[in-house]
Amino acid sequence: MTQNNELERGNFFYYFGKDNEFFRQLEKFLDRVDKHSVSARMLDSSDFYRSWKFFDQKISCIFFDLYSLSQDLEKFSKTIRFYKNSDIFKGTVFIGIFNSVEQLQDNLYLFSHGLNYSFIKKDYYYDLFRDSFLITFETFLNFPMYAKAKDLNVEYHLRSLNPIGWFSKNKILIESDQIGLLGKFDTIVHPEDEDVEIQMIKDSGKNTCAYFPLTTQVIARHQFFENKEKNSTTLRKRFEELIDLDVIQNTETNILILDTMATFLADKEFELKYNHLNFHYVIKPENINSNFFKEANPECIFISTNTGNLSIKNLKKLIDRVKKIEEYKPVICIFNTLTNTEALRKVLEYRNIIGTKEMLIPSLVYPLIDSYFSKINFKDKTRSNKLMFNPATNNSLVKFKPEVIVTSLSEHSMTFYSQSVFPCYSILELDYPCNLILIIVPPWNELTTKAHHRHYMGIFHGLNFEEKSKLRVLGNQLIQNPTMGFEKIIEEEPVVVETVKKEGSKNPVEKIEDFDSKEIEIFEVKRKDAYDTGSKL
């Protein structure tokens, strides 16, 4: 890890959970590999919001133990969306610990909200710690080594997870990690319909007003409704039932809460009420750079001032940036100020502003948001034509099917060529030999090059023992028959294939006790920009 990386990511691993043994093992692991002075902290609470106040340091990685906390996943999804849109969690790795593969598969949308890695609760955690260390610090531990099928040339397609921002009768806004979709015809997979044809017609280039922390937005023509009408009215009815009726009128509003005292989160009534809003939560005003307003484009800005942290002078500098942007006139509410509205308007030379001495708390902010919506919907009829799915369901996702050429595979990792462009740490899915989730990571060994392709490395996560075994079997089959495709192997699903040990490889033993007794080689992998495609963290 470089000095810069240390500064960016911080040196704290947080564990939200009640499993003391897990935490003991995490501490033990960090002690063992700790050349970066990483320490762990445990928060025995599912109250993710109010725990915010503990985050006084830059956090490297957070483990959310949904298993031990019996966490309501809808609340959890709101939490990670909110966290991912806050300045103090930029670069933080979010890891979810789930009860079962089924629970994870039912909640895949969490990856589009900002979850980076998943783990199915087991009695040993070594592979979780090793992988989280890799993602967080780009530092690879070469233990254990896995039998790996190399020099493969297996054509296959992966699936990318893309949330639907909104859709209207014939258009759909898709947010995506896959870059460069404009102009393409493609098919998407939705839980309600396989292979719906779409045509990309408008690409924002980057995610300027997104609900989700993905990379780009693309508007596409789609045939959802046409398909439904052709098929049956029952299907269409079912489809329409999926739409979250609470939010259909209100799409595309960005909120910035600049809260130097974090009073909003400390308020006992705080709960993220609005599914359909994109909140940016900023605690440190200095994190609002000169491009922030142009990129994030917040329409309502709620600011808590207090002399020192955010003086009127600094507020003026912020508002001067707002004023410089053409056709941009957000509503700004200043809380915790002794200066009256009229005086603020004059001194800041901005009319669209109101001020109050009151603290910035949810019970004051939410009615203002409601009021804003009632006005905006009255004024902008186009909004009510845009529908959206409840983001806390897999129905809010569509999947593209990027074609890839698999070049190596083990039970832990896979490398593949693709003509598609993905930022590092993008999440992709495989559906063979079972449903598998893959995160693109910086490669820890040199990857070959191929014209018009990029060569990616990914690691599997969210596996239980059974799936891991299937992957191991597949890896072993490919070692024996590297020219076979996945489909071929399906036909020839073998009896039992024992693990083939490559020369120099070891059994994939994962107990942390074994880890204690080994000499582990710890080395930095290539930087996250290894693919020259940016990073999702």
Partner: protein, 145 residues
């Protein structure tokens, strides 16, 4: 009760004319030549609104409000100012300003003093935010469809 007003300005003309202009709005009107005198009156009398110049000899408006707040006075302050924003306006805003009135026109002086006196009589200066949102302009977003 209408409330008591303190006018602080180094221009004698304003100290003599403003009380006549504003006499219907307040019960009692006090005048002072600078911030230092103003502080003495604040300490001695029950004042519900201060109308003060920013630039004055001995003690200017910025020092005046800073000292007043330090002594625990939450009285609403209205400052006279030239057109446009300057550093002094930003400084006094840090301590809580009710309004700025541009000299020499003194536009909206009556409305501003009236609302400041009302605020000054209340313990809580908090405003009903929702009431104010009526004045907020909402931009129409460009249509994607």
């Amino acid at each position: 009760m209408k409330g008591n007003l303190l006018i602080v300005d180094d221009e004698e003309f304003l100290r003599s004319q403003l009380p006549e202009l504003l006499e219907d709005l307040a019960d009692k009107i006090f005048t002072a030549e600078n911030g230092k005198e103003g502080l003495q009156i604040l300490a001695r009398e029950e004042i519900h609104c201060v109308v003060s110049d920013l630039k004055m000899p001995v003690m200017g408006g910025n020092e005046f409000i800073k000292e007043a707040r330090a002594q625990g006075f939450n009285t609403p302050f209205i400052f006279f100012t030239g057109y446009g924003s300057d550093e002094t306006m930003l400084e006094v805003s840090e301590y809580g300003t009710h309004d700025f009135i541009a000299k020499p026109g003194l536009e909206n002086l009556f409305e501003s003093v009236s609302s400041a006196l009302e605020s000054g009589k209340q313990n809580d200066l908090g405003q009903t935010l929702l009431g104010q949102t009526d004045e907020i302009e909402i931009m129409k977003k460009s249509e994607d469809d």
